[in-house]
Subunit: 221 residues, 2 copies
DNA sequence: TATAGTAAGCTACTTTTAGTAAGTCAAGTT
DNA sequence: AACTTGACTTACTAAAAGTAGCTTACTATA
């Protein structure tokens, strides 16, 4: 367990187990996906070319197209894979907490840790280039933060005994997520700040408003 | 003053004042910029083509390239123009207020009003497609929100007599801006909510955290 | 074991679009 | 009248997405 292996390295090794070149579909697919993520991370969506991807995979272009459909679908697949991973990490961290504020804090820390460990990919897939036009994919991350936000607000309002409209929960979750994303982008140029500080900072910024938001929401039922 | 004229209509009228086709450079430039913004709003960066822009302007492609340099520069110019307008509107609204919270409230309302009146363009230039890769342009809007946030935090900390690090003001401004942008995107699918509600909602979400954030910031000098 | 079927891959295209080289044509300037 | 300049054109190149149709190796079964 001394060395760490990247997804690309693992996939390449698996492919090279077939020295004659003819590799089973699911193996080739994993390799192409891993190489694509790397390529997008290096160059961004617009500049990354399918020709180069084919070259790196040591395969011709139609093979790529047969596997992934189109450049856009490939990009979406990369986002889906990465955001799935992010979601898992946050969920894992949250699951150890029971109080809404502690959950948000744990989720926040997990978020920054994930980004810290995947700077390049994260920037390419979630920030740069066309990322936002595929927002339906990154959407799944928001869905999750939605749950955290909902937990916070519902607890706050359960006291008053009011049912908050779903709509407002949803919008607030988007706002919270937007704040996290934006500050993560800014963090990119200030990497000297540790995850813990980033996380506490965001908690300090958002929790007071979230807990007191119920007042506002009760005005507009 | 009965009818309203769009930027495109005005520019087209100016161009048609030269029936022989040879139009002075600055007039043609204004027309091309207006048409470009319209085209990007309709199709988004990736799908909009320079050929079609040339066609719509009734001019050949090299003319476009002579005027605007490249597709990316053209897009940046559109963002710069639009964000300049947004900045002006917010500045105007803020200038009528003196207290930080009132300023944030006024700025917030101006923000949502602007977007409400420029839905298509705003979405294409600031959200869709490549928008975020040109974030240096949209950056100028953040700079302004930075001032508002700084006002809030400095007032809060002046009481305690501490000097907040510039870095944290900046990051917080990004977070606030990200929250606004994200909720504006979400608003796109919930247009039934009036600007005033959106604005008050964001104020309710952000102000408590902003005013209390000083506690956190004083921990880390 | 011969052979039909299929999975993996290739060469060689088409199409679209950003960007450019080189020239035309009208109007003023000397 | 010759010369420069500024708006504009035709006709290209280059790069990259995506595809049609063929080849080759492996596999199952008669």
């Amino acid at each position: 367990m001394g060395t760490t292996h990247s997804a690309v390295q693992i996939a390449t090794a698996e492919v090279e187990a077939y020295p004659h070149g003819r590799v089973p579909r699911h193996i080739r697919e994993k390799q192409v996906l891993a190489l694509a993520e790397e390529l997008f991370a290096e160059k961004g969506f617009a500049v990354a070319s399918m020709d180069e991807l084919a070259l790196r995979a040591g395969v011709s272009k139609p093979v790529i197209y047969d596997l992934v459909g189109s450049k856009e679908e490939l990009f979406k697949a990369c986002i889906a894979r990465a955001s799935g991973e992010l979601r898992e990490q946050i969920a894992e961290a949250v699951s150890h907490q029971s109080e809404p504020v502690s959950q948000l804090r744990a989720g926040s820390l997990a978020f920054f840790k994930f980004i810290d460990e995947h700077r390049q990919s994260w920037s390419a897939l979630f920030v740069g280039d066309v990322a936002s036009s595929f927002s339906t994919e990154a959407e799944s991350v928001r869905k999750q933060q939605f749950d955290l936000v909902a937990g916070l607000l519902e607890k706050a309002t359960r006291v008053i005994g009011t049912q908050i409209e779903y709509k407002f929960l949803e919008g607030t979750a988007h706002a919270v997520n937007g704040a996290f994303e934006a500050v993560a982008v800014w963090w990119w140029e200030h990497p000297e700040l540790p995850c813990e500080v980033m996380s506490e900072w965001m908690v300090a910024l958002l929790v007071p408003g979230l807990t007191s938001l119920s007042d506002f929401l009760n005005i507009k039922p």
